[in-house]
């Protein structure tokens, strides 16, 4: 099993959305995927429950988030139940994030390239580096830019890119798209959105696929 955690101590940075998009794309590629919803906002659990209410397919399993002292056991329990485990962590500086990192093959740190979110993303980078050192194992990590402008790089984004100083960042950024927020409105999959009603569904799908492929490149055997 491969384990990927989505971390950033700031809330609202795109952890849930990027986790969801990766889960859907990997499921479409026939990976057996489970997602731990470790965010107290329970957006993924809520999405799952609404899918069940409307008898819609669940292409990946969504698991209610465990308590801090239960996380390790739950990860162990899923070792043979799925091929890819995704953990959507809460947007606070919480100890459970350290535990999740210790169980991860890859930590993805989503953030919008703005000064405030970049500072918080750097805290997550420091934590993964320190955790990696403490447990004597390399934990791969990568920043993921989200909600970027489709047409051009903002000055903020240019500043952030210039300041990354060698910190890995995924080649693919998730562009700000209406489709990425719409999936949570009616508990849809990206693949189910009606392109006549939601703009640029095709572009959003291409973007999500590229993000998934970039991520897999970091983990291939």
């Amino acid at each position: 099993m491969i384990s990927i955690s989505f971390v950033n101590p700031k809330g609202g940075t795109g952890k849930t959305t990027s986790c969801f998009l990766l889960a859907e794309q990997l499921a479409k590629m026939d990976y057996k995927v489970a997602v731990f919803d470790c965010d107290p906002n329970n957006n993924l659990v809520n999405w799952r429950d609404r899918r069940k209410e409307k008898d819609a397919e669940l292409p990946f399993e969504v698991v209610d988030g465990p308590a801090e002292d239960e996380l390790l056991d739950l990860v162990a329990a899923y070792e043979d139940k799925c091929e890819v485990l995704l953990m959507d962590m809460e947007g606070t500086a919480s100890q459970i994030v350290t535990f999740a990192m210790s169980q991860s093959d890859l930590c993805i740190i989503p953030f919008e390239p703005t000064p405030m979110e970049t500072r918080q993303a750097s805290r997550a980078v420091k934590l993964v580096q320190r955790t990696s050192k403490m447990i004597n194992r390399e934990i791969k990590y990568s920043l993921l830019m989200v909600r970027t402008n489709a047409a051009f790089q903002t000055n903020d984004e240019k500043d952030v890119r210039a300041a990354l100083n060698g910190v890995p960042v995924l080649d693919t950024a998730l562009v700000r798209r209406a489709a990425y927020t719409r999936i949570f409105r009616d508990a849809d999959l990206l693949a189910e959105l009606d392109s006549a009603k939601v703009s640029n569904v095709g572009k959003a799908t291409v973007n999500a696929k590229a993000f998934a492929m970039n991520t897999l490149e970091l983990l291939k055997g």
């Binding site: 099993m1 491969i2 384990s3 101590p9 479409k28 590629m29 026939d30 990976y31 308590a67 801090e68 002292d69 390790l72 091929e83 890819v84 809460e90 606070t92 500086a93 919480s94 100890q95 459970i96 994030v97 350290t98 535990f99 990192m101 210790s102 169980q103 991860s104 093959d105 805290r123 420091k126 934590l127 320190r130 955790t131 050192k133 403490m134 447990i135 004597n136 194992r137 390399e138 569904v201 095709g202 572009k203 799908t205 291409v206 696929k209 998934a212 492929m213 897999l216 983990l219 291939k220 055997g221």
Partner: protein, 115 residues
């Protein structure tokens, strides 16, 4: 207006799915003491436990409020020997009653006839 062939045709989804590739995990079992060290290292960066604290068995339950809601209230400051006041507070704690209730009891059954 045409885009002279420089458009972003590649941004439309072709519908084909990328193929599944073998993935490799490098996770290892983490010794509890190493995990504890990692958690302590995280705490230095502000990543601390956010779990609600479980109630301690030793913690005393709050004193009962009694009939406070239905009567006019007043308060006064008592100055006296520490020994006496400490003994009074300790007895209230032992019996889990508010201070005023203990005063009422100490005054006896006719103690509040003046009110």
């Amino acid at each position: 207006m045409g885009n002279y062939g420089f458009g972003d045709d590649d941004d439309t989804d072709s519908g084909s799915e990328p193929t599944k590739i073998p993935l490799k995990s490098n996770r290892k079992t983490v010794a509890p003491e190493k995990l504890q060290e990692a958690a302590e290292g995280g705490a230095d960066l502000g990543f601390v436990s956010r779990e609600p604290k479980k109630p301690s068995a030793a913690k005393k339950p709050p004193r009962r409020a009694g009939r406070r809601q239905t009567e006019a209230q007043d308060k006064f400051l008592v100055t006296g020997p520490k020994r006496v006041l400490d003994a009074f507070k300790a007895r209230c704690d032992e019996q889990n009653v508010p201070y005023w209730r203990m005063l009422e009891e100490l005054m006896g059954p006719d103690g509040d006839e003046q009110t």
